[in-house]
Symmetry: C2
Subunit: 423 residues, 2 copies
């Protein structure tokens, strides 16, 4: 157990600081180059999908697949749609399977709303300044999209149950509030699974804006770190039950199932929404890469194939999350300067440090050769009002590097905290 | 040689009409279902690239390629960029290699100009009604993009040398004219190769709009039907020589080199333009499907590999173009009711029928079981003012079907002409 840093005498703090600084210096002299900045799968995880590459070789001789080499089919190949429909409990008319990136689908959905408007409503471009709800901490690439399109981003506090729904319900009374980013299962970066009650409140949401959309980025739907997994209530089904299904755009991809750079992205929405999206998408493209889609269908076989594949990812990821948690516990528990999440899935651990120390901690880590996601990145405009949150991405480095990087992180966090406490 | 329909007596026309109608009726009774509507590669052409599928299998063991399975690299893999740079005589900083569709790149380029503006100029969305130059006949999917974004499309007459440059130079004096669609080599649908003088005038163009762009869709750059091929003057190089390189966005893809549905698209532009595009693209996506890109690099080997591969396409396509031309000549030459192009490359033959007979001809063909591209499709808003132009796409059907379809086309065109001449 660590002593509580906030209760130490100044003399003791000075002593500790000197000791920690020399510790960091020792790391610095090792000339490390470690990258903990992004939620990238490791080489071993990517290797799990190399069977996919062999599936490409089978396509030329697979009955019916030959036509997939040609133009056409805007919403994806039948075989992969069937697998996703089974996994998502939807019908093919509610699904578009597209290119390699769900981020691209989200950006394009945002762009079309800006340019053309949604279901008969005026383009967002013509509705004055629009606003967007951003649960924080959250995913920097989401915030970058809404920022690029000039939306005013409003922070929504994340609770352990999901976004603060009282705030959401209050804010959507403003018709210039057009949407919200959500990563509802194993949220980025905290790993929170939205409670059923939260999902139900989303499903029943009645925003003043008729063209409000929940951007439901279900990026980690099958990415559990436990064997039993978590069950997220199905927002689309709930909204449908209430006749409110037009409010949802659900996104997902196989980026962290097969290859991060060459997976398959998809969007789930009501038939009305899908028809509108397709009517515009058909001007943008003749169709997606159906060869990659079909290879995925061959590789998975069926929805069960996806779940079994994810078991293998879990076996590789779980020890890494455990290692980080173990070191954080060893070195920071009880010190009163850090709290962190213990996610049951997803790709990140979220750490809240002593306010005012996140930037300094990341800078100290960088000096010692370890790159973390920039402090503030988990907030809109990269502005963490408390300068406290840091996202740890344990997936990429080998465990040994992960251990070193996390140790350095703890040392840096302690130094930054002591500096602030000393004033 | 056919008799000149415009010189026949009415009695002779009536006799011919009866004969042609019974001819068409005979076709109708065969219950044919032929599709000549789109420029799709044939099965045999697609088979030429099945070696590509085997290249995927090699990726897992190729040195350095393993990282391509992960996130990153916004502008494409080094190896394929190198091959395209060699083919296009450009440097890697002037190139982005992206997803499977150059159409998507054109749409996105248009969208970014609408939403964000180009090189410091205001978004097109904020500049009132914009106008766009459309050489006609042209490519329907181009026109669909500018129409979707609400641009007012202005027809520019195509000459055998390229677009009417006097008209272009005059019209770009209007600052609301923001761009032009061009398929400069083996143009869609006429197969025209822009003369050097035309390309030079494009390179030297000084539009009133500082944010004017030539959308140079070099879709058929290596798609010759002759062994020697045609040489298109390099617009980008010419523009660069004049310090005018920001005016060009050049597009291309391997859609008609490898697979129409699963090729690789690219954009060539000045470093300033590329930097701007990347600054926005990096919000839209983490990167393209690099696995497909790398498989293409393995498959081609080098630029020479692309040229040798195109020889095989030519061997399959040339007989089809010849067959269509032979039948058109046999059945329509001298009749005074049709003129058509004899392209040395590309995917189409353009036929100009007697004014007022194109729609009727396509309708008659449809009755007889042959689908042609809708009359008017080669014009903005699908409005061919003369109702004369029809695009024939010889690539997809087997020669036997092609012969039947073209014969039916000739019969239909004659009926439509005689109906009009009879008044």
């Amino acid at each position: 157990m660590n002593s509580d840093y906030t209760q130490l005498t100044s003399a003791k703090r000075q002593e500790l600081l000197a000791q920690l600084r020399s510790e960091l210096d020792a790391y610095r002299q090792k000339g490390l180059k470690l990258d903990m900045s992004r939620g990238k799968p490791s080489k071993e995880q990517l290797d799990l999908s190399d069977g996919l590459l062999a599936c490409f070789g089978r396509i030329a001789t697979e009955k019916g697949a030959a036509d997939y080499r040609n133009y056409g089919i805007l919403d994806g190949v039948t075989e992969l749609k069937a697998i996703f429909c089974d996994m998502l409990k939807i019908s093919p008319s509610e699904l578009i399977v597209a290119g390699n990136a769900s981020l691209n689908l989200m950006y394009d959905a945002f762009q079309r709303a800006m340019q053309f408007g949604l279901l008969g409503n005026p383009p967002w471009n013509e509705q004055g300044k629009i606003k967007w709800l951003c649960p924080v901490p959250g995913y920097d690439r989401h915030f970058a999209v809404s920022e690029l399109f000039g939306a005013e981003m409003i922070n929504i506090k994340m609770t352990p149950e999901g976004p603060d729904m009282d705030a959401v319900e209050e804010l959507v009374k403003d018709p210039s509030v057009k949407g919200i980013w959500c990563v509802p299962k194993y949220s980025n970066p905290q790993g929170i699974v939205y409670l059923d009650a939260v999902v139900r409140r989303f499903a029943a949401l009645k925003p003043a804006a008729p063209d409000f959309r929940i951007f439901w980025d279900n990026a980690y739907m099958v990415h559990s770190l436990t064997e039993e997994g978590d069950v997220l209530l199905d927002l689309f089904a709930e909204a449908k039950r209430l006749g409110n299904e037009d409010i949802v755009y659900q996104f997902g991809s196989t980026s962290k199932i097969t290859y991060a750079g060459a997976g398959v992205g998809f969007i789930v929405a009501s038939e009305r929404n899908i028809a509108e999206i397709k009517s515009r998408m058909t001007i943008q493209t003749i169709g997606p890469d159906k060869i990659n889609q079909y290879a995925h269908a061959l590789f998975f076989g069926n929805a069960e194939g996806i779940y079994r594949h994810m078991d293998k990812h879990r076996a590789l990821l779980k020890p890494k999350f455990d290692a980080v948690d173990r070191i954080l516990t060893d070195r920071l528990a009880g010190a009163g300067i850090a709290a962190w999440t213990k996610p049951r899935g997803g790709y990140f651990i979220s750490v809240d440090l002593l306010p005012g120390t996140a930037k300094r901690t990341v800078a100290l880590c960088k000096e010692a050769g370890v790159v973390f996601t920039g402090a503030g990145a988990t907030y809109p405009y990269k502005k963490d009002p408390a300068d406290a949150n840091i996202r740890i991405a344990p997936s990429l480095p080998p465990v040994e590097e992960l251990v070193t990087a996390t140790e350095i992180f703890c040392t840096a966090a302690k130094i930054a905290a002591l500096e602030v406490l000393e004033g």
